[in-house]
């Protein structure tokens, strides 16, 4: 970090630029199995209900017990779409988490830990942090058992922040309700005592960050990206989900399965990813809106069947929630390493669509659009998410997820019993793969007595019979590939979304989940006196080239921001538009890009030329 860049830290100016503004991050650290994640989710819920905008990420290793995990929560009085470094409070469930996080805390940050930890408080003090020992373990033991130490810790942190105890109590009640009234009461007693202890704590006076309750705020949902994607799929009429559990995609199958019976969704935990995608293709052939979800490694296994969907013109939605690769890589961590792979996955050439939503709202809408595109164009559609988007928890006003935002459209698809489409017949026969001007053949779902047909994975003629005939092969290839032009001409694919000022010295170029951190980096750059804006792409294939070029012509100095080693999007932009970005800010260690890091990176890339 260079001299001047320190002022670009997102933590700068806390607690809030204006007196009434709050923007505080806190981190809960402990061992896997200690309840770090559930505590973090609980605190996030309490903050959301108390009227704060919340953005939370879990940082954990690929193991069930042991090893350091942490949960970072950001609470703000304005909408936030990114995590924020550095935190103002560390809630340490182990002594090790103090050692690991101490350096990365904000100036004046508090370290709340158990009094029994062997910890050098003076060293904490010397590091410019405020040591806050609390007898969390003792309080827990006094009311039953040490497993309630988490409750004590959460309440202690709440007390230190002057966060309303009632909100924390609500969450305690909810979390322990199924364990019975005695457990609830014991935990409440622990919470009250730890909270009271903190109000009297000598260190509390010196701590300057506060999160008081905010009255009159609208109700907000607290959801992760996979939730949003599931809601979008459901709203689109998705009725079939097959998957093999793979982090970080698993919660899609879990959430859909939890709602399968009341909503009438068939979910299938398949024997492997090959089966999962094939089942979805079978269901798609049958006429159900079908999806399979996985991460990069599972997607690798699915690629052969992706071509099957392409050749048989079967609608299917494939979700790739990227994580660190290659191989099994970094199972619980984030990366945007699959872009160039999904664009070309499977042998041969066939039309496909690729959408990479940038945030929770876009994930919801992209899921709805994916099912429409799959059916209208009779192709596989890939939803490219990643661990950061899939697992980050954020608040949203319920009305922002509007299921009428994208009404279901099936295009030239006819269900049994519906009147025939004009183009459907030729010489009295139904031609499943009829040559059409737009490349889309009218589709009659199986079960219609007037339309009995086969769909070969081999090359075939209009009726669906296998043939290697030269002229037919040409026309069939052209028919299939024409769908991409049709979609572009119909304006299905969007160009980049621009955030920030229209005219800028520097333009950040991003895709997928870096949207939130990159957008926040604009503010940091502005504070450093650099006028920057952001072009963000969700729709990647077919690529809306004209719209992209229109925007790129206005870019003075462009810096691509992405989460991979080779700068895949930078190369993609060059391939599609000839545009060569001046700089590249990248991260490939599995941790999400932070706003301050992006801002510093942008200045490093083009620093000499701006201001």
């Amino acid at each position: 970090m260079g001299e001047g860049w320190a002022t670009l830290s997102a933590g700068d100016g806390k607690p809030g630029r204006k007196a009434e503004e709050q923007d505080v991050s806190l981190v809960i650290g402990g061992d896997a199995g200690q309840g770090v994640e559930s505590s973090g989710a609980g605190f996030s819920t309490a903050l959301a209900r108390a009227g704060y905008h919340v953005f939370s990420i879990a940082d954990y290793r690929s193991r069930i017990r042991g090893g350091h995990n942490f949960y970072q929560i950001r609470a703000a009085t304005r909408p936030v779409a990114s995590h924020l470094d550095p935190p103002a409070l560390l809630l340490a469930l182990t002594a090790e988490s103090v050692e690991l996080h101490l350096e990365n805390l904000a100036d004046g940050a508090a370290v709340v830990y158990d009094r029994s930890f062997r910890l050098d408080a003076a060293a904490v003090e010397r590091a410019g942090r405020l040591p806050v020992p609390v007898p969390m373990n003792e309080i827990a033991l006094r009311h039953g058992s040490k497993v309630m130490m988490n409750t004590a810790a959460l309440a202690a942190a709440a007390g230190l922040l002057r966060f309303p105890l009632e909100r924390m109590e609500e969450v305690v009640r909810q979390n322990f309700a199924r364990k019975g009234e005695r457990v609830v009461e014991a935990n409440l007693a622990v919470a009250r005592e730890a909270y009271a202890e903190m109000l009297r704590h000598p260190a509390a006076e010196r701590f300057r960050y506060r999160l008081p309750g905010r009255e009159g705020q609208p109700e907000r949902m607290l959801l992760h990206g996979n939730h949003a994607l599931c809601l979008g799929a459901l709203a689109a009429g998705c009725r079939f989900v097959a998957a093999y559990p793979m982090t970080p995609a698993t919660t899609i199958l879990e959430w859909m399965t939890a709602h399968a019976e009341p909503l009438g969704i068939v979910t299938k935990h398949a024997e492997d990813e090959l089966a999962a995608v094939c089942m979805a293709i079978g269901a798609g052939f049958g006429g159900a809106r079908a999806m399979c979800s996985t991460s990069g490694g599972g997607f690798s296994l699915m690629t052969e069947a992706l071509g099957l969907a392409g050749m048989t013109e079967t609608p299917v939605v494939v979700v790739d929630v990227q994580r660190g690769g290659p191989s099994t890589g970094l199972p619980t961590r984030t990366e945007q390493g699959d872009l160039l792979f999904v664009l070309h996955a499977s042998q041969g050439e066939f039309p496909r669509f690729v959408l990479a939503p940038g945030d929770h709202v876009e994930a919801f809408e992209a899921a709805m659009r994916a099912f429409n595109l799959a059916e209208k164009y009779q192709v596989p559609v890939i939803l490219l998410s990643d661990q950061f988007l899939a697992s980050s928890l954020r608040t949203l006003e319920p009305e922002r997820l509007r299921r009428d935002a994208v009404p279901p459209e099936r295009g030239k698809t006819r269900r049994p019993g519906e009147p025939p489409l004009p183009e459907e017949r030729r010489d009295g026969d139904y031609l499943r793969f009829a040559f059409t001007a737009d490349g889309i053949s009218p589709r009659v779902l199986p079960g219609d007595p007037d339309a009995v047909y086969g769909v070969p994975s081999d090359e075939h003629d209009e009726a669906g019979h296998i043939t290697e005939e030269i002229a037919n092969r040409r026309r069939m290839m052209e028919k299939r590939m024409r769908k991409l032009e049709t979609a572009l001409a119909a304006g299905e694919m969007r160009g980049p979304r621009r955030l920030g000022p229209e005219e800028a010295e520097v333009t950040l170029l991003a895709w997928g989940s870096t949207l939130g951190p990159a957008a926040e980096a604009l503010e940091l750059l502005a504070r450093a006196g650099v006028r920057a804006n952001l072009l963000h792409w969700c729709d990647l294939w077919p690529f809306a080239g004209e719209a992209a070029e229109r925007e790129l012509r206005r870019v003075r100095r462009g810096v691509v921001v992405e989460q991979n080693y080779t700068g895949q999007f930078r190369r993609f932009l060059r391939m599609m538009t000839g545009y060569e970005a001046e700089g590249l800010v990248r991260r490939y260690d599995g941790r999400p890009l932070e706003p301050g890091e992006i801002a510093r990176g942008v200045l490093r890339e083009v620093g000499a030329g701006v201001r």
Binding site: G237, P446, G454
Partner: protein, 282 residues
Amino acid sequence: MSEQRPTWCPGCGDFAILAALREALVQEGLAPHQVAVVSGIGCGSKLPDYMRVLGFMTLHGRPLPVATGLRLARPDLRVVVVDGDGDAYGIGGNHWLHTCRRNPGLVHLVENNQIYALTKGQYSPTTDQGTRTTTSPEGAPERPVNPIRTALAAGATFVARGFAGEPKELARLIRAALRHRGYALVDILQPCVTFNKINTYDWYAERIVRLEEAGHDPSDFDAAWARSGEFGERIPVGVFYRSEEVPAYEERVPGLKRGPLVERPLDELDEATWEALKRELI
């Protein structure tokens, strides 16, 4: 009947399988649009192209999961899977194992010619150990898969063996499979006249014994297990095992209680349910 002419070699066992399947479907009173034939890859997997039914030719080894997805989405369709021994017992072995224990309502016809034919004569999972082929000049190194015993061990609820040299009998077996409520495996001895000079029509004909005539009781699992060990000088054909006790997988899927997926409108979610779903996250 389709106008497509099969590309099979003259004398291929697949002709008899095609004839038997057609006859079974007709006798069961199934119309072309009510039947979907899902196939794998290979000579025999071109079969749906030679019939007038709904057809879906998939990938090598993958017809079972495609058929399972189709059946779950469309329990109103009768779904028949046709593939070869390489598809079913080799590359798709994992799917086969799990389909056996899953028990979806599928009829699975395996054209078992004990050889890879379309790729010109390499050994298959059912080739006898020691058989010389282009990829086993010293003799096939592995012991062959025993499809009958493996299916029984994996929990299949209908396990049968047929012979392409006897299409009438085969049609009877397929009809019985079509009437079964869960997964029905019919392993079919299907001579490859071009690449398998050992397991010929005559070779099979000399060895075949009929389970029915031998007084075998298909409801007796232990008896089925014992008979499944026979393959060599005597090769039993007929129904080894049948249990109607186990519901088909699709009968147990909670998401299908509201009816077949395709019959429900895409926008069926009502406002109250939608709001309740969002409230779960508040």
